[in-house]
Structures are given as structure tokens and as C-alpha cells.
């Protein structure tokens, strides 16, 4: 038996070897994300109430719901920011999300775009993408190793994918609102994620930009699983295959857009009160 204290990586988590997420992520049983009975309470207010949600591998799912329905809290739970009071959350069938912190979840392959586009305003567009590049993000590594050729190529690929080659050298703070949204999506892609969580990706965009974003998301679906939270019904209609309606912290209905629009309980929630 080895001395446990000599195995420093077992004692100090920052010495632990980086786990390659693909090796762990197991989607042979279908779903890539599996939330069961998640409940989150803030001072007696139930932000999430026995939420159950399953996202299939490669699926593009839209989530809608009124303000306070629990959409953002749900994303907080998936990405490790909020710990639920009880319930379980699995990424694939092997990774337990509830035992991990935000960076670990990000490294495992879940990317999240915030409601308000958040990029590093003082760095160039290219610098933003470089920072997001997948790879070892430890302190020493960052200090000593330059960007690899592979990462450099990935930056160029993503730049063209999100249509920002022309402004690659610009400081991110000078970009338009829509461009920032794209840059943020580009940063998520640099992480080579398997699941993308996008909180209102088209808010504040012109119709041309929305069209371009729709194309982008449809392109991503299949190779990635994408969860979109959106208020813009037009946009939801244009991309959605399956839609989930959240209400008071749990799933109200789930189904095709067509069915959702005609569902009496949805109509009551949206129009009745």
C-alpha cells in the first residue's frame, strides 16, 4: 500500500492531473444532460421545484418561460454556480455535475453564454478567443507555455465561423452588441464543448444578425448539444425542434413548437394572469 500523503495529487486538488473530458463523457445511453428532482430555495422561495429535464446528445432545445420561471437558476445549477438543495444532475451517464466547481464543469465540456454578453473588454477579439482555447488552464502552464499551433489554428477557424475576422485585432470593448454576442459564442466554441447553454443569444440583435445567428446555431446542432433560453418567439420558432416551457420552477410542458402554442396550460400561464 502506498503512503497516501506521498501522492500529493490526492491531497491538493490543484496538483491533480487534468482529466480529458471526452474520455469520461459517456452518452451511449442517449441523454447528454440529465436533471432529476432539482430543487433550489432562496429564503423560502422555491426558484426551482422538482425540476426534471433531459437533453439528448446533439439536440437543439429551446427553453421558454416567464420571468422568474427558473431559467437562469437552472443554468446556474448545471454550471456549478448554485448548489441545489436536493436532486441530481448528470452530464452523460458518468459525470456527476453536483460534485464539481465551475471551472471543472467548463473543462468537462459545458459552455455557458450569459444573458448580458460578457467578453473581456480590454483584450483584443483574438486575445479573447485565445484565452478561451481548450487546454491546460493552470497558473504555471499559462505563465510558461505559449499558445500551441493547434490552438492558433482553432482561433482562426472560430474567427471565420462567427464572422469576426475583420475585427480580430480590435479591442473587444469597441464591438457592437451583436458582435459581442458572437464573440462570446465563439469563445464557448474555443472550449470545444459538448453542450452549449445560451442565455438569450439574440437579444439586441438586428434582424440580419438574428438570421446569421440562426444559421450558426443550426450548424452547431448535431455535433454539439445546444440549449437556448430565449424570449424572442420568432427566433424560437425558426430554430426549435423541441421546446420546454418552465413555470414556477418546474417543467410545465415539453413538446413540438406547434403543440406548445396550442397547449391550454401554456396559454393560461402566458395570457391568463
Amino acid at each position: 500500500m502506498k503512503e497516501p500523503l506521498l501522492k500529493r495529487d490526492r491531497v491538493y486538488d490543484f496538483l491533480a492531473p487534468v482529466v480529458i473530458p471526452e474520455a469520461l463523457l459517456d452518452t451511449r445511453h442517449g441523454p447528454i444532460l440529465y436533471l432529476e428532482d432539482i430543487t433550489v430555495t432562496f429564503d423560502g422561495f422555491k426558484a426551482l421545484n422538482n425540476l426534471n429535464l433531459t437533453i439528448g446528445d446533439g439536440e437543439l432545445r429551446c427553453i421558454i418561460g416567464a420571468n422568474g420561471a427558473g431559467k437562469t437558476t437552472m443554468m446556474d445549477v448545471i454550471t456549478g454556480r448554485t448548489r441545489p438543495d436536493y436532486g441530481s444532475a448528470w452530464f452523460g451517464s458518468r459525470i456527476n455535475l453536483l460534485g464539481m466547481d465551475e471551472p471543472a464543469i467548463a473543462a468537462a465540456g459545458i459552455g455557458r453564454k450569459f444573458q448580458k454578453p460578457t467578453v473581456f473588454e480590454n483584450l483584443s477579439v483574438q486575445g479573447n478567443l485565445e484565452l478561451a482555447a481548450a487546454g491546460n488552464k493552470g497558473v504555471w502552464r499559462m505563465l510558461s507555455a505559449p499558445l500551441s499551433a493547434e490552438q492558433r489554428d482553432a482561433v482562426n477557424e472560430v474567427l471565420s465561423l462567427v464572422n469576426l475576422q475583420a475585427v480580430a485585432a480590435h479591442v473587444a470593448g469597441t464591438l457592437s452588441h451583436g458582435q459581442k454576442q458572437w464573440l462570446e459564442i465563439g469563445m464557448l466554441l474555443m472550449q470545444r464543448p459538448r453542450l452549449l447553454l445560451l442565455d438569450e443569444p439574440v437579444a439586441g440583435m438586428t434582424s440580419a444578425e438574428i438570421e446569421r445567428t440562426t444559421e450558426l446555431l443550426l450548424e452547431l446542432a448535431g455535433t454539439h448539444s445546444v440549449v437556448v433560453v430565449e424570449h424572442d418567439m420568432e427566433f424560437v420558432r425558426s430554430i426549435a425542434r423541441r421546446v420546454t416551457v418552465l413555470h414556477e420552477g418546474s417543467v410545465l410542458v415539453e413538446g413540438k413548437m406547434q403543440d406548445i402554442q396550442n397547449d391550454p396550460s401554456v396559454i393560461e400561464v402566458y395570457l391568463g394572469e
Binding site: 432562496f42 429564503d43 422561495f45 426558484a47 437562469t72 437558476t73 446556474d76 454556480r81 448554485t82
Partner: protein, 543 residues
């Protein structure tokens, strides 16, 4: 079987005493002043025996001035005028010695030091004087004076005193006095040769807080010749005493802690408003407290004849001064920095330096002395262990009043409503017609004004100097953050809790170490619970 003769002896003494009591007034009945003066005359001699007799004679007179003269003799303010050989009372004032007749209290004008000869006393006479004064006081109308007299006699109770106490017990109606008499007699009985009396005495002293009782019982336990059962009884009585003492000492520490906590709460509560409600870091908060203290100083300068009332004027004055300076700071500096807390911190720190230097230039770098009104000195003595000083008590009550007033303002006034609205959602508040900038200025003024009021209280406790504020700023922040930002109740509980904790640590760790321990505790605590004891929860806070 040897106690009978003792009792007989005592009864005899009592008889003598009672007969004296009755006999004396008759002999001096014709003219009290003349006989008093004649009794006083032997004090002029160097013969201490004669003086001792004179003192005994004075105390036996029923003259109204007798007590005053005895006390003066003890204090050394009784002299004889060299020219007239008359015995006089001397009071030293700035310009010389003011003299009055010892018998008639008629003023005799001013005399020089050289024209007077003090009536000297030795220790034996002093003892006699103290005893006699106490005996006389036993007949006082005020029960407190009677109790004090009994307590003064307790230490060295002789047969005469004993007889007097027994007599007093039969006529006394006040419970406190009776209790004191019982204790005094019991302490004397501890030395009794009768086992029964001793055991009775031990029973009486069981749990008594009288310091003498404790000492004598301890001596009894320690003595070699004490009988076993007596020793056991004494030990148990001693334990009971120690438990009660410990209990009251505990209460005393809590009281000290609460008064320190009140100071912390007062200093922090203004900050709790500006930091908690507005999210503004005001490093000049300490200097606003300082301004309040200096306002008190100025108010007292302006009304030197009415120091007792000065604080009543100082509280609103300090509130106004600090509030106006606060509003000026808000309008001049802070409003340009909303949403940039670190910059606000730096800018207000600059303001604090300017205010400090301004006070240094206007008043002086030295500490100013602020007088304490007479009604704040003194204390309520619950017993020999626990006494509540009026100044600490005043601070505690004052803090609670300020706290209640502030809560009322925030809860019931229009301003309070608007403050809470702006704190929760600035844009929405503006949309429904709340003038955001006006509310900011008023809130800041309110917080600053409370700091000024805290300064009035602090002026009664510490030195008023330019560095007064600096000493409290770190503490105040700790209290606010520890209690949970944006929660006035949290501030109250945190301040009181830290005060009490500090006072409990002080005896074992020393004042400075106690402070360090508390600081380190808070530093670690904040790292464990960054939002304090009573955090506001929810998603909105996280973002």
C-alpha cells in the same frame, strides 16, 4: 458553658450605654451652643487623651452640628484661630481660607494659613472618630445612610457597636439595613467561642456578597483549630459565596460588554446606512464621528454655565453639523462615483484626511477635554460585586434610543420608504417618481448625522482629538460586515456581540490581545461567510 458570663457582661454594657443615652441631653439642656462650645474647648490642647474625651463628649451631644464637627475633625478641616482660640471650620478656596464658627456656623471671613492652627488627630483618634460617626449615622433618617453606617462598623465590631446594632435591629424597619445588621453581627459571631453561635453565623453568611464575610470564612476554613463540622459548613458557605460572586461578575462583564458594544453599534450604525443601504464606502465616516465630538466641545464652550444641559443641545447640533458635511461630501464627491466602490473608498479617504487636518488647524493637534454632566457620574450599586455606572448605562440606553429612532425613520417615514425603494431598484424607483439624487443626499446625510450623534456619545468616553475617528473606522466596518451588509438588526447584534466577546477575552488575554483575537476572528469569519451573520439571499444578490 462559658457563654453566660459573656451575656451578663454585654447586658451590663448595654445598661451603661442606655443610661448614658438618656442622661446626656439632660445635662446640656439649658443652652446647647454654650455647652457645645465648652465641650469643644479641650480640642485646643496637645493632649490626645483630653481630645479623645472631648470627642466622646461631642458625640454624646444631641447638637445638630456635632456630626459636621466630627467629620471635619476627621477630614482635617477643623482648626483653631490663633487670635481668638475659637474652634473654626476651614474651607480652602482659591484665594485663601474661608472660616466659619464650628458651633454656630457663623461666617468669620477669610484668614491666612498662618493665622490658623489645625486640630491634629492621631490614628487612635481617627478610629474613634470613624466609629462615632458611624454610630451617629445609625440614627440617621435616610435608610441608605444607616446601611452605610452599619457596613462601616462591620470591619471591627466591638462590644459597644454590637450592642448598638442589636438595639437597631429591634427598631429598624428597612430590609436592607436589617440585612446589613445581620451580616455584621454574623461576621462578629464567627469569632465567637460558642460553636452554636458560630454555626448560626455561618448559616447567615451562606452566599453573602460582603467581601469581609468571604475573607473571614476563608480564614476560618484555613485555620488549624477549626472543628471539622464548622469547617465543612464554612467551606460550603464559601462555595456559595464564590458562586454568587462569579455570577455577578459575569453580569458585570456582560454590562461592560454591552456598553462597549453600544459604542461599536453607535459608531457603526451610520455606516450601516451609507454602506448597507447605498453601497457606498465612506472612509470619512470616522471623521464625521470626530466632528460630532468636536461639536460637543464647542457647545460646551458656548454654554459653560450649563454643562448638565449641554449634551441635550449637542445631540441635535452634532447631527446637523455632521449631516451637512455628509451631504456636502455626497454632492461634491461621491455622486460622481456611484457604481465604482473602490474609487469611492479612495476619494472619501482623501476627504477624511482633509477633515482631520482641518480640525488640527482650527482647534489644535492636542486633545480637547469635554466635561461630563454631573448626572452621568456615579453608579447604581446593586451589591458589592455588581455596580452599573451611570455613564455606561446612559450610553446603552442612548444607543438603543438612536437605533429605535433610526428604524422608525426607515420604516415609517416617507424618506425611509424612498431609501428602501432606491436601495432595491434605482431605475424602478426613479420611474415611479422618486428623486434618486435627492434620496441619495438625504440618506447620506442621515448616515452622517447619526455618526455625529455617535461622536457626542464618544466625547464622554474617550479623548476628543483629530485621530478620534481613525480609531473607530476599522471597528465600524467590521461590525457592519460581520452583521451582514444592509441589515440594521445585524449591525446591532454584531456590535453588542463583539463588545461582550471583547470584554470576556480581556481578563485572560489583555485588552490589545482581545482586540486582535476579535479582529482575526472576524477576518476568518468573513472568509467563511462573506455576507455576514444575517445575509440577504437570492439570485439578485449573487449577480
Amino acid at each position: 458553658m462559658d457563654y453566660r458570663p459573656v451575656i451578663v457582661m454585654r447586658m451590663f454594657t448595654l445598661l451603661v450605654l442606655v443610661s448614658l443615652w438618656v442622661a446626656v441631653p439632660v445635662s446640656a439642656a439649658d443652652d446647647p451652643d454654650v455647652s457645645f462650645a465648652s465641650v469643644l474647648a479641650p480640642l485646643n490642647t496637645r493632649d490626645f487623651e483630653a481630645k479623645s474625651r472631648a470627642i466622646a463628649a461631642i458625640s454624646e451631644l444631641k447638637h445638630e452640628r456635632a456630626g459636621i464637627v466630627l467629620q471635619a475633625l476627621l477630614d482635617g478641616s477643623l482648626s483653631s484661630a490663633k487670635s481668638t482660640k475659637r474652634i473654626v471650620l476651614v474651607r480652602e478656596i482659591e484665594t485663601g481660607y474661608e472660616v466659619e464658627d464650628a458651633v454656630t456656623a457663623a461666617p468669620l471671613g477669610m484668614l491666612k494659613r498662618t493665622e490658623l492652627k489645625r486640630v491634629s488627630v492621631n490614628n487612635k483618634l481617627r478610629r474613634q472618630l470613624r466609629e462615632l460617626i458611624a454610630h451617629r449615622a445609625l440614627g440617621a433618617n435616610d435608610p441608605v445612610a444607616r446601611r452605610k453606617a452599619v457596613e462601616a462598623m462591620t470591619d471591627a465590631l466591638d462590644a459597644t457597636g454590637r450592642a448598638l446594632l442589636i438595639k437597631l435591629r429591634s427598631t429598624e424597619s428597612d430590609d436592607d439595613v436589617l440585612h446589613a445588621v445581620d451580616i455584621a453581627l454574623a461576621i462578629a459571631d464567627l469569632e465567637s467561642s460558642s460553636t452554636e453561635e458560630r454555626n448560626d453565623a455561618i448559616d447567615t453568611l451562606h452566599g453573602s456578597l460582603n467581601p469581609l464575610a468571604r475573607g473571614r470564612l476563608a480564614a476560618l476554613v484555613a485555620a488549624d483549630d477549626t472543628a471539622d463540622d464548622t469547617r465543612r459548613a464554612a467551606a460550603s458557605a464559601l462555595t456559595a459565596i464564590e458562586q454568587r460572586v462569579a455570577f455577578f461578575e459575569f453580569l458585570q462583564v456582560i454590562f461592560f460588554g454591552l456598553s462597549l458594544g453600544s459604542v461599536l453599534v453607535l459608531a457603526a450604525i451610520g455606516l450601516a446606512i451609507t454602506f448597507g443601504v447605498m453601497g457606498v464606502i465612506n472612509m470619512a465616516h470616522g471623521e464625521l464621528i470626530m466632528l460630532g465630538a468636536y461639536t460637543t466641545y464647542v457647545v460646551q464652550l458656548l454654554m459653560p454655565q450649563h454643562i448638565d444641559w449641554s449634551l441635550l443641545v449637542a445631540v441635535p447640533a452634532a447631527f446637523m453639523v455632521a449631516a451637512l458635511v455628509g451631504i456636502a461630501i455626497e454632492r461634491g464627491v461621491i455622486r460622481f462615483l456611484y457604481g465604482r466602490p473602490l474609487e469611492t473608498l479612495l476619494a472619501t479617504f482623501g476627504v477624511s484626511l482633509v477633515l482631520q487636518q482641518a480640525v488640527r488647524s482650527i482647534f489644535s493637534p492636542l486633545n480637547r477635554s469635554v466635561s461630563t454632566p454631573s448626572w452621568m457620574s456615579g453608579s447604581i450599586e446593586i451589591n458589592s460585586v455588581l455596580s452599573l455606572t451611570y455613564n455606561r448605562l446612559t450610553i446603552i440606553i442612548f444607543t438603543l434610543v438612536v437605533f429605535a429612532a433610526l428604524m422608525a425613520v426607515l420604516r415609517y417615514s416617507r424618506l425611509g420608504l424612498e431609501v428602501r425603494a432606491v436601495a432595491q431598484n434605482r431605475a424602478m424607483a426613479r420611474a415611479v417618481g422618486v428623486r434618486g439624487s435627492w434620496v441619495d443626499a438625504m440618506t447620506f446625510g442621515l448616515g452622517a448625522g447619526v455618526a455625529g450623534v455617535a461622536g457626542v456619545a464618544l466625547s464622554q468616553l474617550t479623548n476628543v482629538g483629530p485621530n478620534l475617528g481613525q480609531a473607530y473606522i476599522v471597528d465600524s466596518f467590521m461590525v457592519v460586515v460581520f452583521g451582514g451588509v444592509g441589515n440594521l438588526w445585524g449591525t446591532l447584534i454584531a456590535g453588542m456581540g463583539l463588545g461582550v466577546a471583547n470584554k470576556f477575552l480581556e481578563p485572560s488575554a489583555g485588552a490589545v490581545m482581545a482586540k486582535i483575537v476579535v479582529l482575526v476572528f472576524i477576518i476568518v469569519f468573513i472568509q467563511k461567510r462573506p455576507r455576514g451573520m444575517f445575509p440577504q439571499r437570492g439570485r439578485a444578490v449573487e449577480n
